[in-house]
């Protein structure tokens, strides 16, 4: 009887979006009289940070600092249509819609600035700090604040734009299953290291080394929060979670967090996150959707590590101590 160590690897890909009904999301962008920008959506922020990411995407596209952008999410009276926040689609679909809307608003903004500066709009650029400059002659400039005042009070222009992301709906071909269910794919590879107590069947995940390829990390800190949380969920799925411990029997289903098991702080593995970026052709600034992909590779990596440690295969989730002990007993016989 001993504590045995093992490691396992798993590699996966994950589709961004669902393309069930064309997967549409729309966005509206407009400026206030003082040159701040409002993004209006009906997309939902689930806690993953959709509002912050949409603000950064809008700010980058218009050429202002992020704190000049306010995002209004999820009011069906004011926000245009969004399919919803799921299928790793939030940043990708809504982000593309925001870029399109922000580009249109930026164009109006530059046209007003061009009239004020008496130059062509195509000769103007933004400095990202809230100013519009003449290319090659940066001393000739106007603040976005003044441009907005001019548009609203002098020139009667609305600095606003409309954005839409829509791809044609894919209908699977009946006989071959030919279909285009999504646009881009995120990728991951995880190596998990575990200790298995072959007397109690208990598994301790020592380390998980996760490599994620996500197109672009639009906000690296928020990417990190998503990827660390997802990695924890993957380990939780692998070893702990089930609503019906005697599946398919319905008895003894959990009713609260005392009965529904998940790893607590003492069970956390040492988690290493490495991010690669291969920009997707159709993603907002190259981003793909990492939201779901990041919780998947840990499950098989842990399962493979358990085999490496004690030489038994557990092909039923979750990998409980009971299942490991039964498998060890069967193997001994």
């Amino acid at each position: 009887m001993a504590i045995r160590r093992g490691r396992g690897v798993a590699a996966i890909n994950y589709p961004t979006g669902m393309n069930l009904g064309g997967d549409p999301t729309q966005a509206l962008v407009h400026s206030t009289p003082t040159g701040n920008f409002m993004v209006t959506l009906s997309s939902v922020d689930l806690g993953q940070g959709m509002k912050q990411i949409m603000a950064q995407i809008c700010a980058e596209t218009i050429g202002v600092p992020t704190d000049r952008v306010v995002v209004d999410t999820a009011d069906t009276d004011t926000g245009p249509h969004c399919m919803g926040t799921f299928a790793s689609r939030g940043t990708h679909r809504a982000g593309n819609a925001v870029i399109q809307a922000a580009k249109e608003a930026r164009q109006v903004m530059l046209e007003v600035a061009a009239e004020e500066l008496e130059v062509n709009a195509s000769d103007l650029e933004t400095d990202g700090q809230g100013n519009i400059l003449v290319k090659g002659a940066p001393q000739k400039s106007i603040s976005i604040f003044d441009v907005a005042l001019s548009a609203h009070f002098k020139r009667g222009r609305s600095i606003s734009g409309r954005g839409m992301f829509l791809i044609p709906r894919s209908y699977p071909e009946k006989e071959t299953g030919a279909m285009k269910p999504s646009t881009c794919y995120a990728h991951a590879c995880t190596v998990a290291e575990v200790e298995v107590d072959d007397e109690t069947g208990e598994v301790t995940v020592l380390t998980v080394k996760n490599v994620f390829e996500i197109g672009r990390a639009l906000n690296p800190k928020m990417v990190e929060q998503q990827l660390v949380g997802g990695s924890w969920m993957g380990i939780s799925h692998a070893l702990y979670e089930t609503t019906e411990p005697y599946y398919p029997n319905r008895d003894h289903g959990g009713t609260d967090f005392n009965q529904y098991l998940m790893p607590g702080p003492g069970d956390l593995a040492e988690t290493e996150i490495i991010v690669l970026e291969r920009p997707s052709a159709d993603g907002p600034y190259g981003a793909k959707g990492p939201g779901e992909m990041c919780a998947n590779p840990q499950i098989p990596a842990v399962a493979n590590a358990v085999f490496d440690a004690v030489g038994v295969r557990i092909d039923t989730l979750p990998i409980t101590p009971e299942r490991i002990l039964r498998a060890l007993k069967a193997q001994a016989n």
């Binding site: 050429g63 269910p181 794919y185």
Partner: protein, 455 residues
């Protein structure tokens, strides 16, 4: 977290102003100080509380419902049954023409899972609603139930859901969604080894911090504002419009800040009945799941069974893969027909295999209806595929990581569902994992690339 910028540096434009910057989240101060407003922070004068009477049986005919005692209970304002719901039979994906309608808002004549909503009680307080709900008398005739997908698919199994006619979802391709690529039997005939294995999972709960719910307030002009934590605003609005036979212009949904969802808040369950309650009483209505309801009643991740048969060569190439996937939808469709189909598109994983045969089934049982969850249709499949990959590598005495390099898809490779691979990066992820985990692989694998013209 470390960003490894050396990969794909030639196709990436860095140096943007706002993108790529680790800016703090604008909403985090509100979250950590408890000042962010969630739907349940809305409190309206005269607000009623809604509690559900739920089926104690997995499968039963409803002989009669007696609400008279409940209606007399102090504080009770209204008791709703199936006949009060204008379009009681619905299915969520009908908006994109995926039917048939197969689920009732309030049970009508039959219950098909334990926990199914039968009667809604609206009262002045949560406690009064709860006490009155306990006084509703439902006379059930218990019917045989089926809990196991294989049992459900056998001839003679009890029919779970009459609206389907059989215990599986009927796709345009038949009993399952099919993918056919190459000639899988020829692949098996050619293979040095063939390995067939089965994998299984049980349901998983989303466990969001904030439970499912909504607060509805009449606007006073025949419109209703619904403060909700749905993940999909217009999905919910449009379905509610159908169920209540109300023009969408009478419905106003407000949400946007949700305390975790993970896919558990895409079903349209609480909003229609709460809005109906507000319409029929003229008062605000609050319907929030208790933690117990969240764990027992809300849709979990589906239980799945995956059978994988692979043919491989001694040099490590997978030459044929046959996958049969079964998704336990529980008693109603919700999003499950789509989840099973998504699985079909995802197999055979990120690998280039010349001969592929896939069937995925969406199966009905008398269990809690399952629906979307993070990794919908894919998570359990990835578990099965990647454990299978480990077994295959060991079968031919090959390093499991090197085995994956041999089969990894690259740009331009044709996938089984007939889409050419674009933007692949599996090889690079594995190269970096090899370094990070100190799991060395042969130099030729470290020299590979996902690019079309790469080594």
């Amino acid at each position: 977290m470390e960003l490894r910028k050396n990969y794909f540096a030639d196709v990436r434009k860095d140096g943007l102003h706002e993108i790529g910057q680790p800016r703090p989240r604008s909403d985090s101060p509100g979250h950590v100080t408890g000042k962010t407003a969630f739907f349940a922070d809305r409190n309206f004068p005269g607000m009623l509380h809604l509690k559900m009477v739920r089926s104690p049986h997995h499968h039963a005919r409803i002989r009669s419902i007696d609400t008279s005692e409940a209606e007399k209970h102090p504080g009770v304002v209204k008791v709703l049954t199936a006949k009060d719901v204008p379009h009681n039979l619905y299915t969520i994906l009908i908006l994109i023409q995926i039917g048939p309608e197969d689920e009732t808002v309030l049970a009508d004549g039959k219950v098909r899972w334990r926990g199914e909503a039968v009667v809604a009680v609206l009262a002045e307080t949560e406690r009064a609603a709860q006490e009155a709900a306990a006084k509703v008398k439902v006379d059930y005739e218990v019917l045989p139930a089926v809990f196991d997908m294989e049992e459900a698919l056998k001839p003679g199994a009890p029919i779970v859901n009459e609206y389907h006619g059989q215990n599986y979802y009927l796709y345009d391709s038949g009993a399952c969604r099919k993918v056919r690529f190459g000639d899988v039997e020829a692949g098996f005939a050619q293979a040095d080894h063939v390995l067939e294995q089965s994998y299984q999972s049980s349901p998983i709960e989303h466990a969001p911090t904030e439970t499912t719910g909504c607060v509805v307030a009449p606007e006073g002009n025949d419109r209703f504002t619904c403060h909700t934590n749905t993940q999909a605003m217009f999905f919910t609005l449009d379905n509610t419009s159908i169920i209540l036979q109300m023009p969408g212009s009478k419905l106003h949904f407000v949400g946007g800040t949700v305390g975790g969802g993970f896919g558990g808040k895409v079903d349209v369950i609480v909003e229609p009945i709460a809005i109906l309650g507000a319409k029929l009483t003229g008062r605000p209505v609050c319907f929030v799941y208790s933690r117990e309801e969240e764990m027992q009643i809300s849709s979990p991740r589906a239980a799945e069974k995956v059978v994988i048969k692979d043919g491989i060569m001694m040099d490590g190439r997978i030459v044929a893969r046959k996958v049969t996937g079964y998704t336990d939808a529980g008693a109603y469709s919700r999003h499950s027909p789509y989840g099973a189909q998504k699985g079909a598109g995802h197999y055979p994983g990120p690998y280039t295999i010349p001969n592929v045969w896939i069937d995925t089934y969406c199966v009905y049982t008398n269990r809690t209806p399952s629906s979307a969850m993070r990794g919908f249709g894919v998570t359990i499949g990835d578990f099965a595929l990647e454990v299978q990959m480990d077994k295959l590598a060991r079968l031919i005495g090959m390093d499991p990581l090197e085995f994956r390099f041999i089969n990894a898809y690259r740009d331009g490779d044709m996938k089984a569902h007939r889409q050419p691979t674009e933007g692949a990066a599996l090889i690079e992820c594995m190269q970096e994992a090899s370094r990070a985990a100190n799991w060395p692989v042969a130099e030729k694998y470290m020299a590979m690339s996902s690019y079309k013209n790469g080594a």
